[in-house]
């Protein structure tokens, strides 16, 4: 083989290589809570689906999803993502705002583009993009529905989640919205965002209160347990139940016009997709996207339920 022929082939090969690997080859790390409950299951589903779609659309983009069981594990994940995987951008849904602020700041110092989802960090100026879920607004929208549904006031019970900042913000938003409406909260108890606890707590509320006009369950997993307890007591015609999140089983009921669950309030696990898409745009389109994006929690009603119904999602 002549030297000249070899050179030609080498040049061709490098040309091919260059064409196949776009200049913007980038890695995005995504750090989210593990799928230990319904909402987080939905979060994982949407994250994985978005990863597949983005990687197909932009061959130079590689996305790594890591899941953690708690804040400490998540902090370890961040170190690995930077040191071992050499990420260019981080999309993170922090377990706890305060605990993760330091670790994310360290990531930022390495020159990584940072997108924070849902819960904000305790210190401003670290994140480049913040896709915020509105927990207070979620409670407020629920409260406003109760106001409108019970114009003359009424007696309701509230089932809360796990004692955390999220639960506190939702609860306060709700209480502010019903303030002065004549709606009386008979009692509120923690049901830990869990179906079994929702069932048990609601059974006890039903034994204790002979008349209940409405139930704010705050979460769709809790709502599933509440529905069963109300059915068992055969008091379906007495009250209505409002959950939250946008679980497909509950959205389906709303869509079918079930009078026990007339509405649901969205708190979309798909917010992780919004954040991943925005972050990818930063690298693929090079357009300015810095800033804060607030995702609202709209009321899901019989009329609009179809657009929030994802039959393939586990949540």
């Amino acid at each position: 083989m002549s030297k000249r022929g070899f050179d030609m082939r080498l040049a061709l090969a490098s040309l091919l290589l260059w064409a196949c690997s776009p200049l913007w080859a980038q890695t995005i790390g995504v750090s989210i809570p593990a799928a230990t409950h319904g909402w987080a299951g939905g979060l994982n589903y949407h994250a994985d689906e978005t990863r597949q779609r983005l990687e197909e659309q932009y061959p130079g983009l590689s996305i790594i999803i890591v899941t953690a069981e708690d804040a400490t594990e998540q902090a370890n994940d961040l170190e690995d993502l930077v040191a071992v995987r050499g990420i260019d951008a981080l999309v993170i849904l922090p377990f706890e705002s305060t605990a993760l602020t330091g670790p994310v700041r360290n990531v930022k110092r390495q020159g990584v583009f940072v997108t924070v989802v849902d819960r904000g960090l305790a210190e401003p100026g670290i994140d480049d993009v913040y896709v915020a879920g509105d927990n207070r607004g979620m409670g407020r929208v629920s409260g406003e529905y109760f106001r409108q549904r019970l114009p003359g006031g009424g007696d309701i019970v509230v089932l809360r989640g796990i004692p955390t900042v999220i639960d506190e913000q939702r609860f306060n938003g709700f209480m502010e919205a019903i303030d002065g409406s004549g709606i009386n909260v008979l009692d509120h108890q923690y049901a830990n965002w869990n179906r079994d606890d929702g069932f048990t707590v609601m059974q006890d509320f039903l034994s204790r209160f002979s008349s209940i006009d409405g139930v704010w369950a705050q979460d769709d997993d809790i709502a599933i347990g509440v529905i069963q307890a109300v059915r068992q007591a055969r008091r379906e015609d007495e009250m209505f139940i409002v959950g939250g999140g946008g679980m497909k089983d509950i959205v389906r009921r709303v869509m079918d016009g079930d009078s026990l669950t007339p509405v649901d309030v969205l708190y979309p696990p798909a917010m992780i997709s919004t954040a991943m898409e925005l972050t990818a745009l930063r690298f693929t389109a090079g357009i300015p996207i810095q800033g804060e994006f607030l995702l609202e929690s709209p009321l899901i009603t019989e009329e609009n339920a179809e657009q929030y119904y994802f039959p393939d999602s586990p949540f």
Partner: protein, 321 residues
């Protein structure tokens, strides 16, 4: 006399809680509430009866909560799958019940053999299987929840909500399991061997007792009890997820200890365990029926009552250490 008073400890605590409940809220003594408490305590109660055998035989099983979640998931998947082959719902449910008992016994056998044949501490073996079953059910459910098909769920829900002579089926199943457990532990050769092994396994071995077989059998019994609890759990909500049965292992162990069984083995009280399970359920129920205690302190109240209940059956009645 002193011994009788000591074994009465958990029942005295139970009685005191019932009185407290009655004073706190009139609704407490309503038939509906009492039936709810009995039916609710049957899950932990049945699992705790199995745990009484394991613990009095000198072992411990931390995997029961995760095992319950895993078996629930398998039952739901199997029933949904079988619906594609036959329309006979009773046949589908029977198939799921048999599968449940089979998986429970097999899971117990694995725990038992790893403990006795592989000579790994029961604590570590069951800590490992706990993680395995918990992840498996989360994986089966894709991180979400497995939901039983409505056609099957409708008929099967009768097992939890249906009643015989005014009491729900779970209460009868709880009672039957407790009675069988009592006879097995106190009136059979196996029961005596179980206590002997738990009390001192070297002495038991010299007495020609097959220690490994006895220990393994206690784990199999535990697995079967978990399966029975699952059979009445699944029809309640018709779903299972990674959250199902969280911390049930601790509640079951607590029920056993409150009931007067020693954590170090060699000593078992089935009816005490039943009282222990009822006490644990009652605490939660009473807290839900009152505003007197801040929500944030529920856990503290539970902790105090559990410790007082154990004090009642240990220290207070006896001057001995």
């Amino acid at each position: 006399m002193e011994r009788h008073l000591k074994s009465a400890g958990p029942f005295i605590a139970l009685l005191a809680l019932v009185l407290a409940g009655a004073l706190i809220n009139d609704a407490f003594l309503s038939a509906g509430n009492l039936v709810n408490i009995l039916a609710r305590s049957s899950f932990i109660g049945i699992i705790a009866i199995g745990a009484t055998f394991v613990i009095s035989g000198g072992g411990i099983d931390l995997s029961v909560g995760a095992m319950a979640a895993f078996i629930s998931g398998c039952m739901i998947l199997l029933m949904n799958f079988l619906l594609g082959f036959t329309d006979s719902v009773p046949l589908i449910i029977t198939g799921a019940l048999l599968a449940s008992l089979g998986i429970g016994a097999a899971a117990g056998l694995i725990n038992g053999l790893l403990t006795t044949k592989a000579r790994i501490e029961a604590f570590i073996v069951t800590l490992g299987t706990m993680g395995i079953y918990r992840s498996l059910v989360t994986w089966l459910a894709d991180g979400g929840a497995l939901t039983l098909n409505f056609t099957v769920g409708d008929l099967y829900s009768e097992v939890y909500y249906g009643r015989l002579l005014g009491l729900p089926y779970p209460v009868w199943i709880f009672l039957a399991t407790a009675t069988s457990g009592y006879v097995l532990l106190n009136h059979t050769v196996f029961g005596r061997h179980c206590l002997a092994v738990g009390s001192n396994d070297k002495v038991a071995r010299y007495s020609a007792i097959n220690v490994d077989r006895v220990r393994t059998t206690t784990f199999v019994l535990q697995g079967i009890c978990v399966s029975i609890a699952t059979i009445i759990y699944v029809p309640r909500l018709g779903s299972a997820s990674g959250q199902t049965g969280i911390l049930w292992e601790l509640e079951a162990i607590a029920a056993v200890i409150i009931g007067g069984t020693m954590l170090r083995g060699g000593h078992g009280r089935i009816w005490g365990t039943v009282a222990g399970a009822l006490i644990l359920t009652l605490i939660g129920n009473i807290l839900n029926l009152t505003d007197a205690v801040s929500n944030y302190l529920n856990g503290a109240v539970q902790g105090i009552i559990v410790i007082v209940a154990v004090l009642l059956q240990r220290g207070v009645w006896s001057s001995r250490p």
